[in-house]
Amino acid sequence: VTARRAAVLLALGILFFQLFSGYAPEVLLRRLRFLRHYASQDLVVRRLGGSGAAFDRNYVILLEWARRRLPPGTKGLAVFSGPIPVHGVHLTLYHFTPVPALVEPRRVPPGWIALVYGPRRPEGWRVLTELPHGALLDPAGSPVGRPLEPE
């Protein structure tokens, strides 16, 4: 075997080793356990149990409750989430698609309703539905576009 061929074999061996060392047995087992546990569950439950909801599962539970309770013909949803990571903002908009949504807007657009995470209930806003970890509210009774918090 020439030096050139030996170098090729050695390099390929390193490449295989590098790629195989990227696998963590505990990750593989966790994936199998996840599939076995969640495969029979609804898609929403699988998302709730997955990586995308890990930043705050209670918040994602609220999103799903709100999605199911949105009044028919909802024009849009202003979500007051409090501080969440940017992934949470994107997930919020994705979750309500195709209903347009905004996270922490300065004003609620006319005709839209609001979803508030946590116990806050802004004065003058009508509670449509109390939900686990939050509530759907209608700011229609208050001046149009009234800010949630004092500016």
Binding site: R5, A7, V8, A11, L12, A39, D42, L43, P98
Partner: protein
């Protein structure tokens, strides 16, 4: 049947039907015959994916609702056209070598390794609903919106609050997501993930088939495919849902068709054209690949193939960009500040380029040095191969761009390097694996005999 397996079976059925339609369409792109069979299988997946995205775009541009009827009509129309314009002549000059000399034990081992890579990626991709941020913020958001709205709403391009979803990105992947969802009857972002292992398998099949057709031994082709199957930086749960896996597949098809076109293979300009359109419809990097190929053509094309290859390379990618621009207006590349190219900013630009390369070296390349060194060794140890060289040149131009472009990133060079460089480089892996195997062909043969 479990809540997951039912829609998963549905998506599997849709992909089988679309790939079967793609198989019929492939008659217009690849010659018949055994040397082409594996590649035809892979191309069928691409052509089926194109059909799934295209029927949604066609339905949206008319008044029809996307469903099985318009999909089947489009597939039938394509199949009929492919019967009228088949690629007739079989390419007999580049057949696989007769009989291999390597031992069957090595082949079995490599096949098992390959199958293991496919299974492990399928597990990673299908563990949970697609979740990575770029899927949720860009590709999935648009696909789910198209499906939910039954159209492409203007707010995706107009609302500042949706700017994070990159209105300037191509719409091929979201249209494809919507296409599968329309046929399935629901948007199931867990079952849709099946697309990704299917694209991985199609990539591996094309890689293997192309190498065999180019005279590479079975064991070397299997080695390349097995290595690629386990390439975690590309085939990961994180990248499932994002554009890199389908882009890498389209790039491989582009590269193989590019080589074929330059060697005058029958049907190659058609294959190059469809791969160019597909790559540009998936990601902006796909459009850049067409531009890079044009540069390579200026250096390497022979007179008799130049104009046809240039047309097949640039026109389809340009057409994809033009159609999106005409339909939805010009969208700026918001992540980049091209004002930095002004002469007055060159000093600043040089500093940012240094930051980009420095961050890339210290945070992306250095941590991967053993693998990169091994890759450099197998590239250097290979012997000259025209196609291998062309593919390396294409991949090298891509890598050079990805290393330099963070210099003009609005959010700063280091930010773009950290968030995007590793995965954009990873998408070049199928091109590089093909190039390396082609270059190792002559070195490998004595190894196989001796084994």
């Amino acid at each position: 049947m479990s809540a997951f397996l039912r829609p998963l079976s549905g998506v599997a059925g849709i992909l089988l039907v679309s790939s079967a339609a793609g198989w019929m369409l492939a008659r217009a792109f690849l010659p018949e015959g055994k040397p082409w069979r594996a590649e035809r299988l892979g191309w069928s997946v691409l052509l089926g994916s194109v059909l799934l995205a295209l029927f949604v775009a066609v339905s949206f541009s008319g008044t029809g609702h996307p469903g099985w009827l318009p999909f089947l009509l489009l597939a039938a129309g394509g199949a009929a056209l492919s019967r009228v314009f088949p690629v007739r002549a079989a390419d007999t000059r580049l057949a696989s070598p007769d009989g291999d000399t390597e031992g069957s034990a090595a082949r079995v081992l490599l096949t098992l390794l390959l199958a293991g890579g496919v299974l492990l990626y399928a597990l990673a991709a299908l563990t949970e609903p697609m979740w990575s941020n770029d899927y949720v913020a860009i590709w999935g958001l648009k696909g789910k919106t198209f499906f939910g709205e039954g159209g492409i709403p203007g707010r995706l391009f107009l609302w500042q609050s949706l700017a994070f979803s990159h209105p300037e990105y191509p719409l091929g992947l979201p249209l494809l997501y919507a296409g599968v969802a329309f046929l399935l009857g629901r948007f199931d972002d867990h079952a849709l993930a099946l697309l990704f292992p299917v694209w991985q398998m199609a990539t591996l099949v094309v890689l293997f088939g192309f190498l065999r057709r180019r005279g590479v031994s079975r064991s070397l082709a299997l080695t390349a495919a097995a290595l690629l199957a386990h390439f975690g930086p590309l085939y990961s749960g994180f990248l499932t849902g994002m554009a890199e896996v389908p882009l890498s597949f389209a790039m491989l098809l582009f590269g193989t068709a590019f080589c074929d076109a330059l060697s005058g293979s029958p049907g190659a300009p058609r294959r190059l054209a469809i791969a160019s359109a597909a790559a540009a419809a998936i990601k902006n990097e796909g459009f850049f690949l067409a531009v890079a190929a044009f540069v390579v053509l200026l250096l390497a094309a022979r007179k008799e193939t130049f104009s046809r290859t240039v047309a097949a390379t640039l026109l389809p990618a340009g057409a994809v960009r033009l159609i999106q621009r005409l339909a939805f207006g010009a969208q700026p590349l918001r992540d980049f500040d091209f004002g930095l190219f002004a002469p007055s900013s060159w000093g600043d630009l040089a500093g940012r380029l240094g930051e980009s390369l420095g961050t890339a070296a210290s945070e992306v390349l250095l941590p991967a040095w053993p693998g990169l060194l091994a890759l450099a060794v197998v590239i250097a140890a290979g012997s000259r191969s025209r196609c291998g060289g062309l593919l390396l040149l294409l991949a090298g131009l891509g890598a050079a761009l990805y290393l330099c472009v963070p210099a003009v990133a609005v959010a700063g060079p280091s930010w773009l390097v950290r968030t995007a460089l590793a995965r954009t480089l990873a998408a070049l892996a199928p091109l590089v694996a093909t190039a390396v195997a082609l270059r190792l062909r002559k070195v490998w043969e004595p190894l196989a005999v001796g084994s």
